[in-house]
């Protein structure tokens, strides 16, 4: 009966982020947080696999104090227990730091056979943490998985890799990163939400994990994060009949040589 650990990230909902047109600074003051979309697929997959194989599922997240709100949400989706590395360092962590922290925590959790991650996070979409974690643990990783099956001590996964699909077999322990097509995350029922409050949560600080200073310092130097501006003509036809709008559009596209 394999033990599954599923990792997720608590991220700002990009739909709530505003850009200040004067200096292109990001205004996140009204932004809410969410469990990164692909990680919802990861949690769902871990739980589906557990339902099939009798495995146990715990979830693991590295986040700032804001991630406290995530625990109930994650647990209501099915995991039995949550591990939370609650540290302000998460705010500035890059994939180097995140994977060091997750690996140290996984070692402390101890029993892991299958680690499931989303393919990338909704904020940075770096697509690195899964393969980095596997490399640091010195175990294989199967990325971009659309289907998986546990057979004894093996995982057989189908990955979708651009112009082909591959069926890959590995012995556990293994890291799996899933694509959104792998499943449709459930919407937790009220009972599951209420039940989540009773599930255990273990909270650690980075200091509890025995990492060196340099393992927790981001590698590249972020010089700026600025709103992306798109300069487009924005000629929008709102008034007039459909035929008039079409005539104006065709006239302009002809003038542009676009047709």
């Amino acid at each position: 009966m394999p033990n599954i650990v599923v990792c997720y990230k608590w991220v700002l909902d990009e739909q709530d982020i505003k850009i200040n047109p004067a200096n292109l600074a990001l205004d996140t003051s009204r932004a809410k947080y969410k469990i990164s979309e692909y990680d919802r697929n990861a949690i769902e997959e871990a739980v589906l696999q557990a339902e099939k194989s009798g495995a146990s599922v715990v979830c693991l997240t590295f986040g700032t104090s804001t991630a406290k709100q995530s625990l109930k949400d994650a647990l209501s989706r099915g995991p039995e227990k949550a591990y939370w590395i609650n540290d302000a360092a998460a705010e500035k962590a890059d994939a180097f730091v995140t994977s060091n922290v997750l690996v140290a925590a996984l070692r402390k959790v101890g029993d892991y056979d299958i680690i499931i991650c989303g393919e990338g996070s909704a904020d940075t979409y770096g697509q690195q943490v899964g393969p980095r974690v596997a490399t640091l643990l010195d175990i294989p990783v199967i990325t971009f998985v659309t289907e998986m099956k546990i057979e004894g001590n093996k995982v057989i996964a189908t990955r979708k890799i651009g112009d082909c699909t591959e069926v890959v077999t590995v012995q556990i322990p293994v890291v799996i990163t899933v694509l959104p097509e792998v499943n449709k995350p459930r919407i937790p029922s009220l009972k599951q939400v209420l039940g989540a409050a009773k599930k255990p949560v273990t909270e650690w600080k980075i200091a509890d994990l025995g990492l060196n200073m340099e393992d927790t310092e981001p590698k590249n130097n972020v010089k700026s994060i600025k709103g992306f501006v798109m300069s487009r003509k924005n000629v929008i036809y709102k008034e007039g009949t459909p035929a008039e709008k079409v005539t104006s559009l065709v006239a302009n596209l002809t003038k542009e040589g676009a047709l």
């Binding site: 700002l12 850009i19 980095r132 175990i139 294989p140 651009g162 077999t169 600025k226 000629v235 459909p242």
Partner: protein, 308 residues
């Protein structure tokens, strides 16, 4: 630290990266080196600008299993930067290389330059809402999306050094049943004109509206993620955006696409963007050159007729 390196399991993409490699190598007075697992392509990489080609010789046909070998070679030779083609395989490999080298990695850099003595990259964040500029440290690693740079003009008279390196490859993984995904249409990533459908198109039969318009325009048909992944009306290769295809057509025309940031991230390089949507506040209009606020069921047949 010496050398600007490029790697891709796709030699055409490796050649595109040599355009970037060459630029940076000139600015920093260094060699540009290609790392490849295909010995037969070494000469071609030299013709495309590599001064040196490292050929990794291992007994695996699976590109991902060369991550350790690329990392070992990089830690021995200490290049200033390694640019890796951002295919899915490339991203997998790059993350493993970064973990072994204990370094940072920029995913999907869309712009790279040499400034104040260091390499700087730009990449998207928050689904394309923001741009993050980073200064690379140590051995700088970045993955670069296909078609970000053009393939350099080949010069078959160029000479360069070819270094063969015997490497051990990861063997923990058994790969079986490799199935090509058969494209049902043209490759939308390279299409000259695109008609894109979103959830505003109410039923699968109404795809005909898009097909008729595409036929008079000579365009291919793309879609939003919802259409491919939730409705399965078109294959996954046809959805455009951050996690789908990045497109660069001369004309992109959408109908019933709201223009969420993740979709817009894939159409930014289009020359002209046209949108048709009933909701005048749909974000797609802010990303469009021309837009019609209206019902696509009225507008598209009229437009198709007008273009005939």
């Amino acid at each position: 630290m010496a050398g600007i390196w490029v790697y891709s399991e796709d030699t055409n993409i490796a050649q595109q990266l040599l355009t970037l490699g060459g630029e940076l190598a000139d600015k920093t007075q260094q060699q540009v080196c290609a790392v490849t697992i295909f010995e037969q392509d070494a000469q071609e990489l030299i013709a495309s600008g590599a001064d040196k080609v490292f050929v990794l010789k291992g007994d695996s046909a699976w590109p991902e299993s060369y991550a350790q070998a690329v990392a070992d070679l990089a830690s021995k030779e200490s290049p200033m930067a390694v640019f890796i083609g951002a295919t899915l395989r490339g991203k997998d490999l790059a993350a493993k290389v970064a973990a072994r080298l204990k370094t940072g990695l920029v995913t999907d850099a869309f712009s790279v330059r040499y400034e104040d003595g260091a390499i700087e990259t730009d990449r998207m964040m928050y689904g394309g809402l923001a741009v993050c500029t980073e200064v690379l440290r140590g051995i700088g690693l970045a993955t670069i999306p296909p078609r970000t740079y053009d393939v350099p003009v080949k010069d078959n008279s160029r000479t360069g050094e070819i270094v063969k390196v015997n490497v051990a490859v990861e063997a923990a993984v058994a790969v079986g049943n490799v199935c090509p995904i058969v494209r049902q249409g043209a490759d939308i990533a390279t299409a000259e004109k695109l008609v894109c459908i979103g959830r505003g198109v109410g039923k699968k039969e109404d795809l005909l509206l898009a097909q008729n318009l595409a036929a008079v325009l000579g365009a291919e048909i793309g879609c939003t993620r919802s259409i491919a992944e939730d409705y399965h009306w078109l294959p996954n290769e046809n959805y455009i955006g951050l996690s789908g295809q990045k497109v660069k057509p001369s004309l992109y025309l959408s109908m019933g696409v709201s223009g969420q940031i993740q979709h817009v991230a894939g159409i930014r390089d289009s020359k002209i963007i046209v949108a048709i949507d009933t909701n005048e506040n749909a974000p797609i209009f802010a990303a469009a050159d021309y837009g019609i606020v209206g019902d696509l069921y009225q507008i598209v047949p009229l437009l198709t007729e007008a273009l005939k």
